[in-house]
Symmetry: C2
Subunit: 210 residues, 2 copies
């Protein structure tokens, strides 16, 4: 269970997320440390909750679901207190269109392969900790320079056909693998859904599955 | 956070469950041991997923939700392997009408107060581990004698108006407290939803909240 057959190398953990997902953000802060403890890398994949949850599963957004909405607000606040996080964004704030950020991620993944994790952290941080609206392309473009990326190229990449196609393909691939939430993790074919499963994922990696 | 104000005694953990809930069954097996570690008792409360999830929240049953269904089957099997459980019932088996079992529980809670936890364990065990259909009153009645309960009285209790009223009141009270799933735990006013939150509940009790 701990190695890809015939390679001796350990397969990376596939991490699926949507930038508008608060629980996805929480998982992004801890996942790599857990993976590293077990000699694993993390492969970052964007998905869209709007396609998976609303269109495919036919469910309402969490905060529009009676009873669950109150719980989620409380649970998210409790998690922040526990991990000492201070976020400018509230779950009840208007939700951005996640596609520009996701397309920017796809563009970096294609044109600066190996930098996409760093870029995803920057996107998550800007949206959740700083509370900025990344559907505004200026907010996305502001990330280029600090990360050493070419700003005009990033701007073009976000609106171009290539990143649109890459995002569509990424979303289709996520559904094909059964991904329906954020965070959603797959390790050696085994799926784990939700930020509250990081401990179980950790145990799974420790034991080599069961 | 660790004591009810002005009493010095620690408030019990409220445990809400539906007998048809596999995750509720899993939690029932571990909750009391966790509570006991922190000097807490458990108060058992039945609820009905059909009322909370389907009527109030407007959601589909888990196994009728695309994508999530496959995940839940896999997750439930993984949990069983991890905890060495062998259940005759599969999640995909036809689901019983939970009301007779819930009414029997209400009857025991009213007429044999203090025995309801033991009775709930027996109900859960008979449904999940043995795979019996507790909507059949003979299956319910078979539990009376081993637990030293009067079988004819239990049979009458299950079909009587009193237990019907008690169940309706229990369901209404659960919704009033924001309970929408099974298992659902409330400790010192703090809600925890899902069998995968038992570790967090444990930490909450250990720290006295945060």
């Amino acid at each position: 269970m701990t190695s890809a057959p015939g390679t001796g190398a350990q397969a990376p953990i596939d991490f699926y997320f949507d930038f508008i997902s608060g629980y996805g953000y929480l998982a992004s802060l801890r996942l790599e440390a857990i993976a590293a403890c077990h000699g694993r890398r993390v492969d970052w994949h964007c998905m869209l909750l709007g396609v998976a949850v609303m269109k495919t599963m036919g469910l309402k957004p969490l905060l529009e679901t009676p009873l669950k909405a109150d719980y989620v607000l409380r649970d998210f606040a409790r998690y922040q207190r526990r991990h000492g996080l201070a976020l400018a964004r509230n779950l009840t704030d208007p939700v951005m269109d996640p596609r520009p950020a996701a397309r920017a991620f796809c563009w970096v993944k294609r044109h600066h392969a190996g930098r996409e994790a760093e870029f995803a952290h920057a996107l998550f941080d800007r949206y959740w900790r700083l509370g900025r609206d990344l559907s505004n392309i200026d907010e996305l473009a502001a990330l280029a320079s600090p990360l050493g990326l070419d700003e005009p190229a990033l701007r073009e990449g976000v609106v171009g056909d290539e990143s649109r196609g890459d995002l569509r393909a990424a979303v289709a691939a996520s559904l094909e693998r059964g991904v329906f939430g954020s965070p959603f993790l797959i390790v050696d074919g085994e799926p784990f859904w939700g930020s509250d499963r990081l401990e179980q994922l950790d145990e799974w990696l420790e034991r080599g599955g069961w």
